[in-house]
């Protein structure tokens, strides 16, 4: 076998390995989704979505859980997005000349890898106890904001970095201030990238369980939260709680709740993809 033949063989081998990896991942995911749908779909109806929790599986619903998830989503977005994007802009466009900003950057990247339960402990100490917020939506969303800030900051930086320097110079050379350049050129050009980071971060936030359990989110909340200071539960906690019950009815309920959570995340991603494509079509160079 000469060199060319062996190269071709390697080429083929790698192609089949690639197909195998792709299919394996997809098949596992499909099996999981089918399994969940088979268990869960039978239970999903209007009553399930609009009922308060109950100790009887057939009467229990996820109204408090999904409304808590929506609250957490909105509040976390409200706190984390402006701060994360702002920090990302500063680090990329203003902070570069300071040596300690480099140190900051490494630390922020590391923060993204810290287990989420650690953030829960931090949130418990600072927001719940020191600031006396209790196990409220506010404390929960602050904690999750801390958790997802590194993701938003890093993706903001990366998106800004991807904008060609020539664009920045063109704007500055026409007499624009730094802020005008950022607002009129850099942010529109990097919008789709930043949005992707934000959505990933928020999708992570609404999927988190551990930090919220640590700060004292409840599994049983017999009312829909109406203000940020209310106590709350979220879908993942509800699912976790139901899965650990002995009755079969609750296991079915948890499968149904998983379907709902999947639908919410899927819907969010769809919105993100839509906006991203729209922005990407407008901005080209």
């Amino acid at each position: 076998m000469n060199k060319t033949q062996s190269n071709r063989l390697k080429d083929q081998a790698f192609k089949y390995y690639g197909i195998f990896s792709t299919v394996l991942g997809l098949v596992l995911l499909a099996v999981f989704i089918i399994d969940i749908l088979m268990d869960g779909l039978q239970r999903i109806d209007w009553q399930f979505i609009t009922s308060l929790p109950s100790r009887l599986p057939e009467k229990a619903g996820i109204l408090t859980a999904w409304s808590g998830t929506l609250w957490i989503f909105a509040l976390t977005a409200l706190f984390a997005v402006p701060i994360g994007v702002g920090a990302g802009i500063w680090l990329e466009e203003y902070g570069k000349k300071y040596r300690w900003a480099n140190l900051l950057e490494i630390n922020i990247s590391n923060l993204a890898g810290i287990p989420s339960i650690i953030y829960g402990i931090l949130g418990l100490e600072i927001f719940v106890r020191m600031l006396g917020m209790g196990g409220s939506l506010l404390a929960g969303s602050f904690t999750l904001s801390l958790l997802v800030l590194p993701i938003i900051i890093v993706s903001t930086r990366e998106s800004l970095k991807a904008v060609p320097n020539t664009m920045k110079e063109a704007s500055l050379a026409l007499g624009a201030t730094k802020w005008q350049t950022i607002w009129l050129q850099l942010l529109p050009a990097s919008f789709s990238g930043i949005l992707t980071g934000v959505i990933l971060a928020l999708a992570r936030a609404i999927g988190e369980t551990a930090p919220l359990i640590v700060i004292g989110a409840l599994a049983y909340v017999p009312f829909v939260p109406t203000s940020p200071m209310d106590e709350f539960t979220v879908l993942p906690i509800q699912i976790f709680n139901w899965v650990s019950r002995p009755q079969h009815g609750f296991v079915v309920n948890s499968a149904s709740a998983i379907v709902i959570l999947l639908v919410i995340v899927f819907f969010m991603n769809a919105i993100a993809v839509y906006f991203r494509n729209r922005a990407a079509n407008k901005v080209k160079w």
Partner: protein
């Protein structure tokens, strides 16, 4: 009270308290003992240059000789480069542009810049031209329209784009994009235009158009152009400065310098023996 005396730049008359200046030789841009460092590396060495208004000055020299750095001193675009440091003064109309009370945004309205690679914004042709005015807060639609037309006419691209002002600037050819970038610079009404190899990314026909344009613009603007193309320098410029290893080796009338360079290095470079 009347007085009459000769100042540094010309004749100064004072009549009934009113000042008049008849300048024999006005200097638009003047650099005094300029040294530039990037961190510890010295890239410009004691540059003194005087540039008269309504002239085209070509800056030539091999890559890395410091000519682009020198050009970018004039509108302070080097300020963003990490480790940049300079000594000496740059005077624009006798005012130090690096003084503490210089507003760098105002300076750049006075000193426009055209870059090597055409870099239009991903917006319409119209929005590209009026960008500089919009950021100054001009909102009057008619004013913007007039300014856009005037700038596009001046940049010799009006006839090609007048029916498509709403079209994306990125749909234009490279040469058109570069003339659009020139129009965008002109719309701000600067008095100096810096050009950093404006035609090096263009085909010969577009290059010829740009050169013709430079010739036209000289009537209203002071132009400094960095170029790698000796013939271009010879065609478009009145004065030429030859940079080598951070030194301004020779600076003088283009014709003279190309016919009979005073320094051996200049002759070697111009005749293509290195660079």
């Amino acid at each position: 009270m009347q007085s009459l005396y000769i100042s540094e730049t010309g004749l100064r008359i004072k009549l009934n308290g009113k000042k008049m200046e008849l300048e024999s030789k006005h200097i638009k841009i003047k650099t005094k003992d300029i040294n530039v460092y990037y961190d510890t590396v010295k890239v410009l060495n004691n540059i003194n240059m005087e540039i008269e208004p309504n002239t085209v000055t070509a800056l030539i020299g091999p890559s890395g000789c410091g000519k682009s750095t020198f050009l970018r001193l004039i509108n302070r675009m080097n300020d963003y480069i990490e480790g940049f440091r300079k000594e000496g003064d740059v005077l624009l109309d006798d005012k130090d542009i690096y003084s503490k009370n210089t507003q760098v945004e105002l300076l750049r309205k006075e000193v426009g810049m055209v870059f090597q690679k055409p870099n239009p914004f991903p917006k319409s042709i119209f929005e590209n031209v009026v960008y500089g005015l919009r950021i100054q807060g001009v909102k009057d639609k008619q004013k913007l329209n007039e300014a856009a037309e005037q700038a596009l006419v001046q940049a010799a691209i009006w006839d090609e784009v007048k029916d498509n002002l709403k079209k994306s600037a990125l749909a234009l050819s490279g040469g058109q994009q570069q003339r659009l970038c020139i129009a965008r610079t002109l719309a701000v009404e600067p008095s100096v235009i810096l050009m950093d190899e404006p035609a090096s990314a263009l085909d010969p026909i577009s290059t010829a158009k740009i050169e013709e344009l430079i010739h036209e613009l000289k009537k209203d603007y002071t132009i400094m152009i960095v170029t790698h193309n000796m013939h271009q320098a010879g065609r478009v410029s009145d004065k030429t400065g030859f940079f080598y290893m951070g030194d301004l080796v020779e600076f003088g009338d283009t014709k003279e310098m190309f016919m009979s360079p005073r320094k051996q290095e200049t002759e070697n470079y111009i005749s293509g023996r290195f660079g």
